[in-house]
Amino acid sequence: MTELSRNRSDAVAALEIDRVGKLFDVAGRRVEALRDISFSVRPGEFVAIVGASGCGKSTLLRLILGLDTDYQGEIRLDGRRVEKPALDRGIVFQDHRLLPWLTAEGNVAAALRRSGLPRRERRRLVAEHLKLVGLENFAGAWPAQLSGGMSQRVAIARALVNRPRFLLLDEPLGALDALTRLRLQDELARIVRQEGTTALLVTHDVDEAVFLADRIIVLQPDPGRIARIVEVDLDGYRDRSAPAFLRLRDEILDTLGVRHAPQQAIATAA
C-alpha cells in the first residue's frame, strides 16, 4: 500500500477492511473462515453484514474489535492498523453479556472505567444513555430481573456510553422473540441516527439488514467471502411491507440461495 492511496482512503473511509483472510485450526485441521474480504465504511454509515451461519461474519467483527490480531491482510481505522480493543469501538454481543453482579446502571458505568472522565460526568453519561434506551426507571435493576429485550437495551447503552466512533453489533437481536426484535430494530435505527455513530451490524436476518443499513455486504460460506455488496436506496423510515423493501429483501435472499416466491407475489400485487 502506497502513501498516496492510504492518504486518499483516509479522507473517505473511516474503516478499511483490506484483503482480510482468517484461518482456524479445528481439531488439527486448517479451516479457512474468511478469504479476501475487502470493503470500507464511510463515517456515519450503517453497514450490515449478512450471511448464513458459519460464513465468518462474527469472526470478522471480532477482528475489527481487535480481540484477535492473527489474520492475513489489514484492518485499518483512520488509516491505522487495528492492534487491540479500544474505546473508539463499542460492541453489543448476541448474548447481552451483562455482568449479573452489577445493576443496569453499574453495567453501563463499567464501560466508563477507562474513559478518564470525572465521576460526575460519568454519572451524567450513564443516566443519559439509560434514558436513550428508555430504561431510566430501571437503573437499579439486576440483570436477572430484566427481560431479554431490556437486557439488550442495557447492552446497547453500555456500548454507546463512551460515544464510540464505531458501534459493532454482533447479531444483537438474534436471541430475542420476533415482536421484541421488531421493536428494537426501530429503537436501534433511532438511536444510531441520534448518536450519529458509524454502525456495523452482523446479522442473518435479511429484513433487519434492509431495514437498518445503508449498505449490505452479503457473505457466502466455505470459505467466508463477499458474494456481493448491495446499496440500500430507501429513504427515511423504511416500511417493511413496501414493494421496494420487499424487492431488495428478495434479491438478497436470492443471492443467499433462498427463494421467496409468496412474498414476490405480494410485492408485484402491491
Binding site: P85, A86, F93, R97, R114
Partner: protein, 262 residues
Amino acid sequence: MSEIAVVMAARSVWRPVLMSLVAPALLIVLWQAIVATHLVAPYILPSPATVLARFQNELDGGTFWGDVAASLSRALGGFALGAPAGLAFGLLLGLSRLAGRLFGPIFLAYRQIALFAWVPLLSLWFGGGEAGKLAFIAISAFAPATVNTWRAAATIPAPYRELSRALIFGRLDHLRLIALPSALPGILTGLRSALIHAWLATVGAELFLDIAPGLGGRLNEGRDKFEVDLMIVALTALAVLGLGFSQLAAAAERRSIRWSRR
C-alpha cells in the same frame, strides 16, 4: 375448606423437617429394642434413657458448655488461620497462569497426603498443645479453600474475559468487576467446605494431641473410663453442632450472592 388449606400449608412447611426426623426416631426405637433384649451388656450399650440422664447431668454440673465452647473456638481459630490463606493462594493459582504452573503441581502433591499424616510432624514442630491443634485445623481448612477458589478463579467464563478485553479493563478492574464476582460462588463453596473440614479436624486434633477441654477430649475420657454414655453424648453434640455450622454457612452463602435473587 380454609382449615384444610391452613393445615396443608403448615404441612408443606414442616414436612421436610418432620421427614428428616423419621430416621433418628427409628434409630432410637431400634436402639431401645436392642437394649430391651438384654443381649448386650449395659456398659457396652447403655439405654437411651441412661444417655439422656448423662446429658442432663453434664448440663447441670459438668463441663459440657465449656467443652463445646473450647471445641468451637478451636475450630473457628484454625479456620481463621487456614481459610484466608487458602483463599489467597487459590486466587493466585487461578488468576496467574505462571503461579498455577509453578505452584499448582506441588499443591496437588500436598493434597495426596492424608491430613492425619501431618499430626506427628506438627506435634513435633508446634507441640501437642493449643498451637499444634490450631496448626492441624488450619492446614485442614487450607486445602478445600484453596482447591475451590483455584477452580473458580481459573474458570472465569470466556465471554466475560472477552468483555473485559473489549472494555479494556486494567488488572484491578478485571479483578474487581469480573474475576472476583465471577469466582464468588466457588469461593463461598470453598469457605463452607473449609469450615466443615475445620470442624472435623478439631475433633481429630483433640483426639490425637494433648488432652484439653473440648468434645474430643471427652471422647478420650469416655474411652479411658469406659463410659459409653458420655461418648454417645459427645458424638451427638458433634453431629448437631456440625449440622448447625454447615446450615449457617449455606445461609451466609445465599445471602452474599444477592444479585442472583430475582
